[in-house]
């Protein structure tokens, strides 16, 4: 493990300056992923700029009636916030489905969005990996890929994004705001993660040196009855093999508004827009739900050992949408 320097930033401009001063510096949030990667040698920063003291730890109403969540809000505080639980319950459920209480007390919203894949080849520095060492190859395509991507991947990388939180945020059209030395910026979460293509090492649309300052959720009335369900082989403390965030607004048996996103199937939280298009205006019944899931998954390109995910995501989407429709009908 490389020796590294450590500095604590007290304001956003100071944090940006500290990062700018050292090309091998990294921001440190909760450290729940970065520190692990430093121990295994995947990350070898020369300096850590601790941003946990920055004044970005508030959850406040946004101007458009939505919610603005500061980048250093911890996962625990996010999941416990009354407005989050009341207006975006799937977000609270997603956060609580991840990690452990101790990790959620440390992990931050900004860090969660930037966490790296849990692909075992990526984590093992003695193994090739195009994401870690561009051009070295992707052993997962021919090797172990039970929990790798079925959507949006390429022959260069089939890793998945591990976040639960990001799946719910994606379903609700969250926007990521950031600050750079040249001023602030904002990007929809849907465009935040770059397509894999031939450059799996380039993961986000954040400009170099940028600091995530927060996430803004627009008002989504349907989200008040939303749900997150996560499937994994053990009941806790594991990343998803498939997950669904869904919100459904049904009027007179017809879908008026729907939000649907999949987790653990792609290099980013996967907004199921094709499925949403099928659902919107259609009868809220099991046949429509299955047709919508099938339409979304028609683009799936499973590998020899992860084809089950197509069945899993279809079943999961139908199950969650059916539950929401039943509750709406009551």
């Amino acid at each position: 493990m490389r020796e590294f320097g450590y500095q604590r930033a007290l304001d956003v401009s100071g944090a940006l300056a500290l990062l700018d001063a050292d090309p091998e510096a990294r921001f440190l949030g909760g450290g729940t992923n970065l520190v692990d990667l430093m121990k295994t040698g995947v990350e070898r920063p020369a300096r850590l700029v601790d941003i946990r003291e920055l004044p970005l730890n508030r959850i406040e109403p946004a101007e458009d009636g939505g919610l603005r969540i500061g980048a250093t809000v911890t996962n625990s505080d996010l999941a416990a916030h009354p407005e989050v639980r009341r207006r975006y319950p799937a977000l609270a459920q997603a956060v609580l489905a991840g990690a452990s209480g101790q990790l959620r007390n440390m992990a931050t919203v900004g860090g969660n969005l930037l966490q790296r894949t849990r692909c075992g080849y990526f984590a093992d520095v003695t193994s090739p990996c195009n994401k870690r060492t561009p051009g070295s190859g992707c052993p997962a395509v021919e090797g172990e890929h039970h929990n790798h991507a079925i959507l949006g991947a390429s022959g260069h990388c089939v890793a998945t994004h591990p976040s639960d939180m990001g799946v719910a945020l994606t379903a609700f059209d969250a926007r990521v705001s950031y600050e750079t030395a040249d001023g602030p910026g904002e990007v929809p979460l849907a465009d935040f993660y770059l397509p894999v293509g031939e450059t799996p090492h380039l993961e986000t649309a954040l400009p170099p040196g940028a600091l995530i300052t927060g996430v803004t959720l627009p008002p989504v009335p349907a989200a008040a009855g939303s749900r997150y369900r996560k499937v994994r082989e053990r009941a806790s403390y594991a990343f998803a093999i498939g997950s669904v965030a869904a919100a459904l607004d049904v009027q007179d048996g017809v879908v008026r508004d729907v939000r649907l996103a999949f987790g653990a199937v792609a290099s980013r939280p996967w907004r199921a827009r094709t499925a949403e298009d099928v659902l919107t205006g259609a009868p809220a019944d099991a046949g429509t739900f299955a047709a919508a899931a099938d339409a979304e998954l028609a683009g799936a390109r499973p590998l020899p050992h992860n084809g089950y995910k197509v069945t899993l995501m279809r079943n999961l989407a139908v199950a969650v949408l059916s539950e929401l429709a039943e509750e709406a009908a009551r």
């Binding site: 984590a123 003695t126 052993p139 090797g143 172990e144 053990r234 009941a235 806790s236 899993l312 079943n315």
Partner: protein, 704 residues
């Protein structure tokens, strides 16, 4: 001195060292302070087979704090031509840096020693090693049977009785099924760690192991030392499960301490443990059962195949588990192995029985289904009067009593045998049962008990408490043998200078040590005249049980148990969750109900974990493991463990002075089969390959 008989044995007692452990006062191997301590870091190969062409030591030696780099050109030589305490030659993986061959990915190729652990690690990770790579073969599967061979281990490889094919042909019902279990790793909480130093002409090692007699003997043999000049201590051990014998870390520490003439500590990382700490081999098994229509067995065949490395022959005796379980006219059991470019497997909790019972007890459930007989009744009908193959009498066999008590408490009698018939919301519900057994053995040990001048007693025995509660159990045993309350007894363990004793292994530790303690304490009690003055140095009596243990009559000696599980399965997602579990055991006299329950429940949790979670995935291209850490290798989490009950029926061993049989492993045996049988009952699908992952459940149209 009172002569009243006390009965500490059989009453619950918290761990005598519990307070030290929870307050941090208890020091584990990597925490014991030493002046002038240097730190070694192992460098492991990144190829699975080949030769080390060169080690670029120069750049690393110039790094801050680096003291030495040991490798095959400069390391001290070791002798591997010996047989150790357990009657087997050494696994040549511990003969570090003796040649340029690489036998598997993760093979130790160098040790970097530095002033601090961090400096050693950074230097070790920077060390450039060049290899001449050769094609490797790590592909284990049932088809490798054709290249496999047999090798007798502690159990014979092949045991035959009767005409198997004739009995199968005469059977009304035949079950013929193949089962697999994956590569599994011990992963004790405390990683392997050792510090070695030379002190006054003696080699002293502070270690975390399952037996200091064992490890001291291996180190003395490897380094050609007088056994009396080697002292190994290991007072507190954070789990072993079979992985903590002599391993690369102790050998590396001794080499470096010898070269540098200062104390050197070597600690394995979790990732290194996946290459160097041993593991349970994957198994491919086939079971054929032939029975009359009423379920009475005519034929029982069990074949098991495991992998081993190219430097050590380790047999995972999965088929041996079938030799004492059920009566049948023809018995045929065989263990085979195939050599691959993989690390050496080793004993892991319930070796043989854990994977073997999954296959056998699943097959019994399949036979019950085919015969239309209740699974418990099937086992009762095949209960043997004597050893099914050996013909020897059982020392005691209370398997049926376990099933009867378990069935009553689990609520088995109202069970609808039809599969796939119970649903609660999205969950299908099922129940399953399986039998458990594990050999009840004993090995010679020595002990010393001292009557101190202040009226207390000190027991010295080279036992290992690897988290089992052995030290507490021995305190209770000694107190009863001396006829005094437990607070007058102090038990010291984990020091090879105390004299030879059995390791914590084979479920034999506590029984072997308790025998020696009972013998010494009993004799001391006899020799103390009432009211006599005790001299300042105390009065010490020593025991050696070699003769008494050697005089034991040949019998079938086993612990038994009945496992019950209820599971919920979501067929839409493939999720399997255990909802409750009950184990009833007949495992000799229970010394300390508190820690015994811990042991048995812990074993059952291992069984759940084996059934649903544990699987080390070997990457065929690299030859190494995929996800070799606790994020990638899943064991059951707290949320996976429901209400678990473990209890026992009265079953004292008539030939043991304390009545002990051993409880370290039987709790795990049969547990995975009970879960798998419950999954069948829930869904109607047989899962013959572990673990029962969601993808397997989801994609299993029929049998999986």
């Amino acid at each position: 001195m009172t002569t009243a008989t006390r009965d500490s044995v059989g009453t619950a007692h918290t761990r005598v060292e519990g307070r030290d452990k929870v307050t941090g006062a208890a020091r584990y191997a990597a925490e014991v302070p030493f002046a002038e301590l240097a730190h070694g870091w192992l460098v492991l190969s990144t190829v699975a087979r080949g030769r080390v062409r060169s080690v670029e030591t120069e750049a690393v030696l110039a790094m801050p704090g680096v003291l030495a780099v040991l490798h095959h050109h400069n390391a001290p030589r070791v002798d591997t031509d010996y047989v150790g305490l357990l009657g087997v030659p050494p696994d040549l993986t511990v003969a570090l840096f003796q040649h340029d061959r690489v036998a598997h990915r993760g093979w130790p190729v160098a040790l970097v020693v530095a002033e601090t652990s961090e400096q050693a690690r950074e230097a070790a990770e920077s060390l450039v090693v060049h290899y001449e790579e050769e094609p490797h073969d790590v592909a284990f599967c049932a088809e490798r049977q054709t290249e496999a061979y047999t090798r007798d281990s502690h159990a014979p490889a092949v045991v035959r009785k009767g005409d198997l094919e004739a009995q199968l042909a005469a059977s009304a019902v035949v079950v013929d099924a193949e089962y697999t279990t994956p590569e599994e790793h011990h992963n004790p909480m405390e990683p392997h760690a050792a510090t070695a130093r030379w002190e006054g002409g003696r080699l002293e090692v502070v270690d975390s192991n399952q037996g200091t007699t064992w490890v001291a003997g291996e180190l003395a043999s490897l380094f050609s030392l007088d056994p009396a000049s080697v002292r190994v201590r290991s007072e507190h051990v954070g789990g072993g499960f079979g992985s903590k014998g002599v391993r690369a870390h102790q050998v590396a520490a001794v080499m470096a301490a010898t070269v540098l003439q200062r104390p050197v500590r070597v600690v394995m990382t979790r990732r290194q443990m996946f290459s160097l700490a041993g593991y349970r081999s994957p198994t491919a098994q086939r079971v054929r059962l032939g029975a009359d229509a009423d379920g009475r067995l005519r034929a029982l065949e069990h074949q098991s195949l495991n992998q081993t490395s190219t430097v050590y022959e380790f047999v995972e005796p999965g088929a041996a588990a079938s030799r004492a379980m059920y009566a049948a006219d023809a018995h045929h059991t065989v263990n085979r192995l195939v050599r691959l470019d993989v690390p050496s497997p080793t004993w892991m909790r319930a070796p043989g029985e854990a994977p073997g019972s999954f296959a056998l007890e699943s097959a019994l459930d399949e036979l019950a289904e085919r015969c239309g007989i209740d699974p418990i009744e099937l086992r009762v009908r095949n209960e043997p009067a004597a050893g099914p193959v050996s013909g020897l009498p059982f020392s005691s066999r209370n398997l049926v009593a376990c099933f009867e008590e378990g069935a009553r408490r689990f609520g088995w009698s109202g069970r609808d045998p039809r599969p796939g018939a119970r649903r609660e919301g999205r969950w299908l519900i099922g129940t399953g049962t399986a039998a458990a057994s594990f050999p009840a053995g004993v090995m010679p040990s020595t002990a010393a008990v001292t009557a101190e001048a202040d009226g207390t007693f000190t027991v010295r025995i080279n036992a290992a408490d690897i988290g089992t509660g052995a030290r507490t159990a021995l305190t209770l045993v000694a107190a009863d043998a001396l006829g005094v309350p437990t607070d007058r007894v102090r038990v010291r363990i984990g020091d090879s200078d105390f004299g030879p004793a059995m390791i914590a292994g084979g479920s034999m530790g506590t029984r072997s040590w308790a025998w020696a303690v009972t013998a010494a304490a009993g004799e001391l009690r006899q020799s103390l005249a009432p009211g006599a003055e005790i001299p300042p140095e105390g009065i010490t009596v020593r025991s050696d049980t070699a003769e008494a243990v050697g005089a034991l009559a040949q019998k079938e000696r086993h612990s038994f148990g009945a496992q019950f599980a209820e599971v919920a399965v979501d067929p839409a997602t493939g999720e399997v969750r255990v909802r409750r579990m009950l184990g009833i055991f007949a495992a000799g006299r229970i010394v300390n109900p508190l820690t015994a329950r811990n042991q048995l429940v812990g074993g059952m949790i291992w069984g759940i974990s084996m059934a649903l979670h544990e699987e080390a995935v070997r990457d065929r291209a690299s030859g190494g493991l995929y996800g070799a850490d606790l994020a990638g290798y899943h064991v059951a989490a707290h949320a996976d463990i429901p209400h678990i009950e473990a209890d026992w029926v009265d079953d004292p061993d008539p030939d043991d002075p304390v009545g002990i049989k051993g409880i370290g492993e039987v709790g795990m045996v049969g547990a995975a089969a009970a879960v798998a049988n419950a999954v069948w009952h829930a869904t109607g699908v047989r899962h013959r390959n572990l673990p029962i992952r969601p993808d397997r459940v989801l994609m299993a149209g029929g049998d999986a």
